[in-house]
């Protein structure tokens, strides 16, 4: 059942509203800008599609258009942060942090400046634009940087909360957004804290025998799988791991100790991403069998989000198969 303590969307399994995660960022940035005059926004010619336009229209004097220049985007933001500003920089994740990784490393992470890097259009669900525009490596690129927090919200509401929260952390942060509409999973009342993983689905009675850890929009599919497999008598817990760094080792290890089998689900290369981060925790804290749902060392291609998620093995059937496989490995 859905964890009743978390006040999740009551319509989750009956045609939930669909909203792009990036929209939540746009609303969150506007709210953060209203709350703190030091918040500034910088964009590299993608203001509307990264949803920074809400902020730019309300606060034109605090918005900097840098043109198609992602290296400049982050280094200029570092300079603004040095003067006390709280810069949010947005582009497609493939270009930022894809193209400007060294500038982020040196002038933001190494420099320890509180710039908020917002990578929209993460994952394979970018769809028809094809492989060049589908960021499948961004979580890995960002989580290897000291000082950097890495956040991948599951829906637009969580993205809004995450945006408003990182505006106050005084740390470099990476926020990953998705392009396509995804179901609303949480509500305004759902608790949100950076670094805290929450169990969204749990058995009505007794212990779970499999733990699914998901990040981003695919969390919805993981929840559908848990509900469907409940009918077959399989007891599952599903975790929303929206903060990938700092990682909530305690909650992850507790889930592994309870279930003895873990599946990770992400729209990202399985190498280096959220699944790898979980495996690093488990190898030290509670070594159990793990199955990794994600992109298996391939580039994407054009297609609808649904077609691509199915083709690259991240759909419901693939998750169900992984559940059965990992249970046999216990």
């Amino acid at each position: 059942m859905l964890n009743p303590k978390l006040k999740l969307n009551p319509k989750l399994f009956s045609e939930p509203e669909q909203v792009p995660i990036r929209k939540g960022f746009g609303q969150g940035l506007l709210a953060a800008g209203e709350a703190d005059p030091q918040v500034v926004g910088l964009c590299a010619d993608l203001t509307e599609s990264t949803q920074m336009n809400l902020f730019a229209e309300k606060f034109p004097e605090r918005f900097i258009e840098v043109g198609v220049a992602e290296q400049n985007l982050v280094t200029v933001a570092s300079g603004m942060a040095a003067m006390g500003k709280i810069p949010f920089v947005s582009s497609y994740a493939m270009f930022s942090p894809g193209r400007n990784w060294e500038q982020i490393r040196t002038t933001i992470a190494y420099n320890d400046r509180p710039v908020k890097i917002v990578g929209s259009h993460g994952g394979i669900s970018v769809g028809p634009d094809g492989g060049t525009h589908q960021a499948l490596e961004d979580l890995a690129l960002m989580r290897v940087l000291p000082n950097m927090d890495v956040i991948s919200p599951c829906d637009a509401i969580e993205a809004k909360k995450a945006t408003m929260t990182i505006a106050k952390t005084n740390k470099p942060s990476y926020l990953r957004l998705l392009r396509e509409k995804t179901p609303i999973i949480t509500t305004e009342e759902t608790p949100y804290e950076i670094g805290k993983a929450e169990i969204y689905w749990l058995p009505e009675v007794g212990l779970a025998e499999v733990g699914i850890i998901a990040t981003g929009g695919l969390l919805y599919r993981a929840l559908l799988v848990a509900k469907e497999l409940e009918q077959e008598g399989i007891k599952i817990k599903v975790m929303n791991l929206s903060t990938i760094k700092p990682i909530d080792s305690e909650t992850i290890v507790a889930l592994a100790k309870e279930t003895g089998a873990i599946i990770t689900v992400e729209e990202h290369q399985v190498m280096g991403g959220m699944g790898s981060a979980v495996a690093e925790v488990l190898a030290q804290g509670s070594p159990v069998p793990v199955e990794f749902i994600g992109i298996q060392d391939k580039f994407g291609q054009s297609g609808t989000p649904e077609e691509l998620i199915e083709h690259y093995g991240m759909g419901k059937d693939a998750i169900k198969e992984a559940v059965k496989k990992v249970m046999k490995r216990k």
């Binding site: 200029v76 300079g79 603004m80 190494y110």
Partner: protein, 297 residues
């Protein structure tokens, strides 16, 4: 602020002392860059002892001018100048690049929190300075302090530098002043062979900058250029400072072999034997005693 003859004399002596510190640091460490630091010693001296609004006793003074060093590899001159200006003890200069030092091989804010930026990878300093000037404009402070960016000529090979030049021109950042160390050398040779930059002044003009040129070893000329830059209201200004790499030590001047090589570690064709290099360099600097300008120009 007027630059008197007496003050120039003082600056010459100070620059000479800073050059000696640079050679001593490099001799002690046996790694690091030589030519660039010697070539920029006069400009660093002019800034830290005459131009910059800063307070070595209050390093985090909010209203200070900001100096962004983009080409972090010339940090021996940066560290030596800061030590001579009272930022930290002169004795600490001998720890350059050694384990546990604050004087990292390339500057790092974690170890010297008063630095405006960490640097080393080229091409990212000007854009950080642009960000600072943009922030000042938002805060209405662009009339009360200056953001100086020290750049190398070689790092104009980097696309990021040109992105910053474009954005600064677009935004007419009046309190941004870039100083280019135009010494014509980079690791692989002369800049005009590796990747021609000329006509550099015309390029900046085309990007809507105010452009000045001066000898980087002539205190009066550099000072006048900075004063003009400060007076320009509608554009960012770049001062192309013509410098002699290795300035002050005859056998090092204008020779790209000394870009990344310290004295005392290698015998090179046409150079003094390695065991003599440090002694010769220091003797030359000591005997000149502040007369560098008159003897070399």
């Amino acid at each position: 602020m007027t630059l008197t003859d007496t003050k120039i004399k003082e600056l010459e002596l100070k620059a000479n002392a800073i050059r000696q510190s640079i050679i001593e640091m490099l001799l002690e460490e046996k790694s690091g860059h030589t030519a660039g630091p010697l070539g920029m010693a006069d400009i660093f001296t002019l800034f830290y002892f005459h131009i910059l609004r800063h307070d070595p006793k209050n390093l985090f003074w909010e209203e200070r001018d900001r100096l962004v060093l983009s080409n972090g590899h010339i940090c021996p001159v940066y560290y030596a100048t800061m030590a001579h200006a009272g930022y930290f003890p002169l004795a600490e200069l001998k720890t350059l690049r050694k384990f546990g030092t604050r004087l990292q091989g390339h500057p790092h804010r974690e170890y010297m929190p008063w630095l405006e930026n960490s640097s080393g990878p080229l091409g990212a300093g000007l854009s950080q300075a642009v960000g600072m000037a943009l922030a000042d404009r938002i805060d209405g402070k662009d009339g009360s302090r200056f953001i100086y960016a020290f750049l190398s000529d070689g790092e104009h090979d980097e696309g990021n530098t040109w992105e910053a030049i474009m954005l600064a021109g677009k935004n007419k950042l009046r309190n941004l002043i870039a100083i280019i160390d135009r010494n014509n050398i980079q690791i692989d040779g002369f800049t005009e062979n590796v990747m021609p930059l000329e006509p550099l002044a015309d390029k900046y003009r085309a990007f809507n900058w105010h452009v000045l040129e001066a000898s980087g070893h002539d205190f009066q000329a550099m000072h006048a250029a900075v004063e003009e830059a400060q007076a320009v209201f509608e554009k960012p200004t770049v001062i192309i400072a013509h410098t002699i790499p290795g300035k002050g030590v005859d056998f090092m001047e204008r020779d790209f072999k000394w870009h990344g090589t310290p004295p005392g570690i290698s015998d090179m064709p046409g150079e003094p034997p390695k065991e003599k290099q440090g002694e010769l360099a220091l003797r030359e600097l000591r005997t000149l005693q502040g007369k560098i300008k008159s003897e070399h120009e």
